[in-house]
């Protein structure tokens, strides 16, 4: 490790818990305190509770469907209501439960597991949560107003297009999807940067807990998969609301483009849900066997391989669309071969359990049942990867059975095990074992009763997505059995809720580490304090709590009076620099609300984009605007104001005196060695800065969006008879070329400003940013004028739609970069300029180059494509 390893008298360095508490705890109470919270644990719990609420709602919808299908010709639900219910059920479980619950658990556990005090971007985590909650609220409010989407969670066009689905139901669905995907993307980038840059010293890549690996792989998958569905749903909304033709066959669009976009997200989505469960399995197995897991490198490799290969199987959802067999067969091969990493994981887990003295807790039961249940889902998955079998059982209940065995078996079983395992960490109390046994067995039996008969129903030919079926077709008894199973499953979920509620209040006290586990989250109190660790740990093995010697150094030198954390290097987690994390604020809520206004109002009028855009932009400016930190702003008011009442002040004083006594006791004990990081710088440039990684994540998302749009452009171009239907005028080519030239030239002043940031030259930064902003604004003005003079609009034909969409998307990036530069200029003129602003300028320059590069690419696609070249 590069930081200084030393041993000094304790009184100079002992972390002061009272001051840590003052730095990390939200000082504000009430509603404002609730909405300004940025602690990862609080937000993680909110994610989990919200996801649980959606899980119950989705479960009730499933129960309603099963009651409807219990007997033939039932009239409990009308056809229309059934369509709304099954669409809302699918959308809820996929978008509002499965992904958020995994991400929420990661948000709570990962920072603790890697030994840090919060996520890299705490305010972004708050924004993610509010966006997610608002997206879910939008879906359910519309459902209760009889405006619930009714075209399935996949919303195939043309069924969901403007011709076959009039009204606002599909618009609500499309906007909800974009909304929740923004949330997932923001959280994924946050988790990647946290794992990359905030690991405890010594926690190198080969020592990272397998759950952390799983969340890392999941986050990368989200970054590259979710832009596809967000883009698709935006295009669908545009087709419906402003008359574009992306999916309109008559005007050069293609309905299969939707399926490609949707399933390019949809299949990785399965792994986005499954991969964290894999991490949980490994964690729980280590805890149950109390020994090292078999084949750690193989398990990591398999998780990463699953992440990669998951992107190469999307076409197996489209086997029935008439795609040539050779094309399909490549995807069959990949779908079959993805069993290699999954099989490797299975064998590693079995080898880990083999011969071990297994401790049987409730979560152990979930581990063992996972093997049986997920195995069945995996086997039917391999069957469905074969084109002939897929064509036979396509759109039957066999597929419903398969996907539930994979998703519930592969994700919900480990998740419930994870809930039993980490519940003591959340609450400090154990879940009731007796109730847990009842809950587990009813869940296991109920699940198999519901879904196993569906295999047989599918093989007998019962189609899925039907609200009823005629009698005398051989479907009755199996359907009735499945409905009885659904009732058992409902009882099980009820038992789980009761157990959670009761145990959180009156459960047996767990102590700090009830399972004698090996990972760092159990190395602090349960539940953890707002600052997670009084003394941030260092790590020297894969099982830090098992191998921790008394001589294990702790991190010293971080400021207690500020929310400061250590930033480490990516591969070896060597200490690199310190950074201060932002404190509680309401801005993430305002930004989420602004975005909400944009998406909701846009359902009714395109002006919603403008109104919401302005609101969001204003809130973002407020978010970024340099000001006195929240807590320092409040500090002088505290004695006079009612924000901290006298009882609380007394409690804090009492706690402080207890802590002082504890510190005095500690002074008497021999001092452990520590890793001094106080001499490290407080900011760093380039890839050493977390912000650089955050912006890189943003660029990865946007690159995926641009790449998908460009692939979509060539996909439609290859299928169109005349492309472009309206020729591009030469004058527009020259206008656009001049605009792009302006953008390219702007790189020079931007480079000057970046160099100025590195050298600390205020003058260079001001001049560089001013000139590049001016050139950026010229680009924007020229392109705006060029678009106004085009002989076609977005609603003329598919080429027009793509032309305007690509141009508009890039122009919005240009505008954002200009606004960002203006903000930085404000800071540079107004002051005070801090070191972090220099990093902002450098990272802003990095993003500017991305905007320039994407502008050149977009120009090349739109104007230099031989079919569209205007000369």
């Amino acid at each position: 490790m590069s930081a200084e390893l030393a041993s000094r008298p304790a009184h100079q360095h002992a972390s002061n818990e009272a001051s840590l508490l003052a730095s990390w705890q939200n000082p504000v109470r009430g509603l404002r305190g609730f909405f300004s919270e940025v602690d990862h644990k609080v937000l993680g719990k909110r994610y989990l509770i919200t996801a649980l609420i959606f899980f119950v709602a989705g479960g009730l919808e499933a129960l309603a469907m099963r009651l409807q299908l219990a007997r033939p010709e039932q009239t409990l639900l009308s056809a229309d209501l059934y369509d709304q219910v099954f669409t809302t059920h699918g959308s809820t479980m996929m978008f509002l439960f499965a992904v958020p619950v995994m991400s929420g658990l990661g948000l709570y556990v990962v920072p603790l597991m890697i030994g840090t005090r919060n996520t890299a971007f705490p305010r972004l985590a708050a924004f993610s949560y509010y966006t997610y909650a608002l997206g879910g609220l939008l879906l359910y409010v519309s459902f209760l107003l009889n405006m619930g989407p009714d075209t399935g969670w996949f919303a195939y066009v043309p069924l969901s297009g403007p011709d076959y689905a009039p009204g606002k139901r599909v618009d609500v669905w499309a906007q909800m999807i974009t909304f929740t995907e923004i949330s997932a993307l923001a959280l994924a980038v946050n988790m990647i940067v946290t794992i990359f840059k905030h690991r405890a010293p010594g926690l190198s890549l080969d020592r990272m807990p397998l759950f952390v690996w799983a969340i890392l792989v999941q986050s990368f998958m989200i970054v590259f998969a979710m832009p596809a569905v967000a883009l698709g749903s935006l295009m669908l909304a545009a087709d419906r609301l402003i008359g574009t033709h992306f999916f309109n066959y008559g005007e050069g669009g293609d309905v299969l483009l939707w399926q490609h976009l949707f399933w390019f997200f949809g299949h990785p989505e399965v792994y986005i849900i499954f991969v964290p469960a894999v991490g949980m399995m490994s964690t729980l197995i280590i805890s149950a066997t109390r020994r090292e897991i078999f084949g750690y490198p193989a398990l990591v490799l398999s998780t990463v391989a699953t992440g990669f290969i998951g992107f190469g199987v999307w076409l197996h959802h489209m086997f029935a669309t008439g795609i040539p067999q050779l094309s399909s067969s490549f995807f069959t091969a990949t779908s079959v071969l993805i069993t290699i990493p999954t099989g490797t994981q299975f064998f590693c887990w079995i080898a880990s359990l083999w011969g071990a003295r297994i401790r049987f807790h409730i979560h152990t039961l979930y581990i063992l049942s996972f093997f049986a249940v997920f195995m069945l889902g995996g086997i039917t998955g391999v069957m469905l990867a074969s084109v002939p079998i897929d064509l036979q059982v396509h759109d039957t209940f066999f597929v419903v059975a398969h996907l539930h065995y994979v998703l519930i078996g592969g994700a919900v079983f480990p998740l419930l095990g994870g809930v039993y395992y980490w519940f003591p960490k959340f609450t400090g109390r154990l879940l009731d074992e007796r109730l847990g046994h009842w809950q587990f067995w009813s869940f296991f039996v109920g699940f198999n009763l519901v879904f196993f008969p569906m295999h047989l129903l599918g093989l007998r030919g019962m189609p899925r997505r039907v609200f009823t079926y005629p009698a005398q077709r051989g479907f009755e008894s199996l359907n009735l059995l499945a409905t009885l199973g659904a009732l058992v499953l409902a009882v099980s979920v009820l038992l789980l809720l009761v157990n959670l509620w009761r145990s959180a209040r009156r459960g047996r006290l767990a102590g700090d580490d009830p399972w004698a586990s090996d990972t760092l989250e159990w190395g602090t109190s349960s539940p953890p304090p707002p600052f997670n660790f009084r003394d941030p740990p260092t790590v020297s093995s894969r099982h830090p709590l098992w191998t921790r010697a008394t001589s294990e150094p702790i991190v010293r030198g971080l400021r207690d009076d500020r929310s400061e954390v250590l930033v480490t290097r990516l591969l070896d987690a060597e200490p690199d620099h310190r950074t201060e994390l932002p404190g509680p604020t309401l801005w993430p809520l305002w930004v989420a609300l602004g975005t909400g206004v944009m998406f909701v109002v846009a359902i009714f009028t395109p002006w919603g984009i403008v109104i919401g855009g302005v609101l969001t932009g204003a809130a973002l400016v407020g978010w970024y605007w340099p000001r006195v930190p929240f807590k320092e702003e409040l500090a002088p008011e505290q004695p006079r104001s009612s924000r901290l009442d006298s009882a609380e002040v007394a409690a804090r004083n009492e706690a402080r005196s207890e802590q002082d006594e504890a510190a005095a006791l500690r002074r008497a004990e021999p001092e452990p060695p520590f890793l001094e990081v106080g001499h490290l710088p407080t900011e760093a440039f380039g890839h050493r800065a977390p912000l650089w990684w955050g912006v890189s994540g943003l660029m990865a998302i946007e690159s995926t969006v641009f790449a998908l749009l460009i692939v979509g452009y060539f996909y439609l171009r290859d299928r169109a008879l005349d492309w472009p239907p309206t020729p591009l005028p030469a004058r527009n080519f020259w206008l656009a070329s001049t605009a792009v030239a302006c953008l390219m030239v702007s790189c020079l002043p931007q480079h000057v400003s970046t160099q100025g940031a590195h050298k600390g030259s205020l003058r260079r930064m001001r001049w560089g940013l001013s000139l590049s902003t001016l050139l950026g604004a010229s680009f924007w003005g020229l392109r705006y004028y060029e678009l106004q003079t085009l002989p076609f609009r977005w609603d003329s034909h598919a080429h027009g739609s793509l032309f305007w969409f690509l141009s508009g998307l890039h122009m919005s990036h240009g505008l954002t970069s200009c606004v960002e530069n203006l903000l930085l200029l404000c800071v540079l003129w107004r002051g005070p300029v801090e070191e972090k602003h220099l990093v902002d300028v450098a990272v802003g320059g990095f993003y500017w180059y991305f905007v320039v590069a994407s502008g050149v690419l977009v120009h090349a696609v739109l104007y230099l494509d031989p079919k569209a070249f205007p000369f």
Binding site: G202, S204, L205, D206, P297, A298, V300, L301, V304, A305, F308, I309, F311, G312, L315, P324, Q325, L326, S327, S329, F330, F331, T332, A333, T334, V336, L337, I340, P341, S540, L571, D572, H577, P681, T682, E683, A684, F685, G686, H687, R688, A757, H758, K759, G760, L762, V833, E834, E835, L838, V839
Partner: protein, 126 residues
Amino acid sequence: MPTPPVSDARTPSARRDLWLSALVCLGPLLWFASLGALYALSTHECGTQVPTRSWLLWSLASAACALVTLLSWRERRHAAGQAPDTSATKAKRVRFMQEAALGLNALCLVLLLGFVVPLLGLRPCD
């Protein structure tokens, strides 16, 4: 005006780490690019019913992936002698990444070789 923060000058080991990280991703990226290209090509070759371009692409991708796998293997084999000054912790991490690169690239090579079955058995527009 504050003093400039620390610079981000790269050390030789950072360059080596970059190469190792690239090696981990090369095989999967090659496989994914060839999968997308083979999918697009097979539709285009409907007219001729002879998948010449698909075969060519497959051969190139497989050869490139084999090369990357070979490089990963060499990297792992020569690991011990290359950086004698590295700490034990770093050496273990480097070895871990070398194993990951070898494993992932070999798996992608298997995936690519698996494509030979449909190429041999099917015509583009069957």
